[in-house]
């Protein structure tokens, strides 16, 4: 009955309507159905929040899946700083991220700019460039990459035409990571599509006004395009950084699960997988996961702070 009393005074009450009482959705009922709609999501959040804190706890234990976890304090974190393979995996992941993300974003922006200037066949080009980004994470393509860059692969075959003896890309630790960087750049299509959508929103009259004032194309790009799409550059940057810090499949398939040769493709998450699920050092693996979370959080925070100086928001 409290439901009825909550009705606004103007609303017809069920008593006045005479027939079967029908309760109009009141605030409280609306509240309840809101939570009802979110029920699956709440379950999912439980399934996220509980493991989140559980792994924080496990990071301070020596859990190995078979015996009860013992609290070991900061031992896992201390061990990490003395673990040469962990340092190596961080190095691999950082090099991969900080080389391939800027290159693929630059290529994506460049191609989007060329595509955006009123060219026929836009949607065909866009599809062709976008397709690889759907395939880049698949086992088939990483396997293909292994053979493309193999000793007798097409890359060396192509270099051979010019009389260049290509290196053993996949088996030489100096070059193996670069093949995966190329693979990541090959998937520039998804940031490109986002750039394209952003460029479409820049009003054409800005450029008209600028060219009447005699601004060069480069000047227009610097002073109109770049500031107006800077929020999109920022979005792409954040998403690409977070994504490539978590690279796994590429390293795993390229090296057959080892991270070799000589740990040159030992991505952080690959090492985490080896520690947790082949050596069953789950406490250590949890600590690693938290270190990665902190690294990602720090980089995202730096980006957000830095964005105040270069990202331009219209409102």
């Amino acid at each position: 009955m409290t439901v009825l009393t909550k009705q606004p005074p103007g609303a017809p009450t069920s008593a006045a309507a005479g027939g079967t009482p029908r309760i109009r959705p009141s605030r409280r009922r609306k509240q309840r159905s809101g939570y009802l709609f979110l029920l699956p999501w709440f379950l999912g959040m439980l399934f996220t929040v509980i493991p989140f804190f559980a792994s924080l706890y496990l990071a301070f234990t020596d859990y190995n899946l078979f015996t009860e976890p013992n609290f070991v304090g900061l031992a896992n974190f201390q061990a990490m700083f003395e673990d040469p393979r962990l340092i190596q995996s961080l190095k691999v992941t950082f090099i991969y991220t900080f080389v391939s993300v800027p290159i693929s974003l630059a290529v994506a922006l460049l191609v989007a700019l060329v595509l955006n200037r009123g060219l026929q066949g836009l949607s065909i080009y866009r599809s062709v460039y976008y397709l690889p980004s759907l395939l880049g994470g698949s086992v088939a393509i990483v396997m293909l990459w292994r053979y493309i860059f193999g000793n007798d692969g097409i890359v060396n075959g192509f270099l051979g035409i010019f009389g260049i003896q290509g290196p053993a890309w996949v088996t030489d630790p100096q070059f193996s990571l670069s093949t995966l960087i190329v693979l990541n750049v090959w998937t520039f299509g998804s940031p490109m599509v986002i750039f394209l959508a952003g460029l479409r929103q820049v009003p054409g009259m800005y450029y008209e006004a600028a060219s009447i004032d005699g601004a060069s194309k480069w000047r227009q790009f610097r002073s109109i395009t770049l500031p107006l799409i800077s929020p999109i550059i920022f979005f792409n940057l954040i998403m690409q950084l977070i994504g490539s810090f978590q690279t796994f499949t590429q390293g795993y398939v390229m090296s057959g699960g080892t991270g070799g040769p000589a740990d040159s493709t030992l991505f952080y998450n690959l090492y985490l997988y080896q520690k947790g699920f082949t050596e069953f050092e789950m406490g250590y693996a949890s600590a690693m996961a938290w270190l990665l979370l902190m690294i990602i959080a720090i980089f995202t925070a730096i980006n957000f702070i830095a964005s105040k100086f270069w990202v331009f928001y219209d409102n």
Partner: protein
């Protein structure tokens, strides 16, 4: 009914129409086309080489940079199909099972959550929404060990449940966000009208909002298809039984066991494994491209 696909059509029109007319001199336009075509060719070359190599005898593969096979050989497909413990269609069906249930789960749970976020008023909505966006950036590996423990305690190892069930719990914030954006673009009067006609929130959702959200659901379905079809880490972790392998695991097993000697059959099965993705991409590219464009912009 014409109203139903209006929002998407409007968006598509905006995307596809060049705002400004053709610019530049014919020469500069031609050179731009030339560059774009060359870049496109370089990008597609590995894929075309893969397809053509799958139809060459193994001995020819590495000698030929060209795309047109000198000697056609389709036996790679027959050989690859039966090279593992099970014929390859078993792995295709396994992947299909995981994919279909993941799609159903994602659409169902994410649409429910999105409707609540986009249209309903309740205490804590903003907080929950922020929390949801936060999980978008949460690296999955933080949850990995405890989730693995939970699944193994439930006896779910070597089943598809760890791969499917989370999708029924709206754990994919990306899709919720996508649908929220879409639902917000629908006129609010629709809900009011349905309410005046006596629809409760659930019926409004099922009868009015959901039919209008078909484009957003299609985007979700295609993205789920592609990411689940490619998914390697989850199956690697939870599936040990070879008979239950999904396609990526089967390919990996192929490479480990035969890869050094049977390039041709392996490339043939690689083609089989990416063909559904290319097919879905061609069929649904408008939904895909719009989907990632809208999430990036808001």
């Amino acid at each position: 009914m014409a109203l139903l696909d209006l929002p998407l059509k409007r968006k598509l029109a905006k995307q596809d129409q060049p705002e400004d007319a053709l610019t530049g001199t014919p020469v500069s336009r031609f050179s731009r086309h030339l560059i774009l075509c060359l870049v496109g060719l370089v990008m597609l070359y590995p894929l075309m080489w893969l397809i053509s190599s799958s139809m060459k005898p193994s001995n020819d593969i590495f000698r030929q940079l060209g795309l047109w096979p000198e000697n056609w050989d389709f036996s790679n497909y027959a050989q690859g199909w039966t090279a593992l413990d099970q014929p390859f269609h078993v792995y295709l069906i396994n992947s299909m099972i995981v994919v279909i249930f993941s799609i159903i789960g994602n659409i169902f749970s994410c649409a429910l959550a999105a409707y609540a976020f986009a249209r309903m008023e309740f205490t804590g909505r903003k907080l929950f929404f922020a929390l949801m966006l936060g999980t978008l950036m949460l690296p999955g590996h933080v949850l990995l060990v405890p989730q693995y423990i939970i699944f193994s305690q439930l006896g779910w190892l070597d089943t598809y449940l760890p791969l499917i069930v989370p999708n029924f719990m709206a754990t994919n914030a990306f899709f919720i966000f996508l649908m929220v954006q879409f639902m917000k673009s629908l006129p609010k009067e629709l809900d009011d009208a349905a309410q005046i006609d006596g629809c409760g929130p659930f019926r409004t959702f099922i009868r009015v909002i959901l039919p209008l959200c078909v484009p957003a659901m299609a985007t979700t379905a295609i993205f789920t298809f592609i990411s689940t079809w490619n998914e390697f880490f989850g199956p690697l972790l939870y599936i040990q039984n070879q008979d239950l392998y999904t396609v990526p695991l089967a390919l990996r097993a192929f490479m480990d066991s035969e890869g050094q000697s049977m390039w041709g059959p392996m490339f043939a099965m690689s083609v089989v494994s990416i063909a559904p993705i290319i097919g879905f991409f061609i069929a649904g590219q408008k939904y895909l491209i719009n989907g990632i464009a809208t999430t990036g912009l808001k």
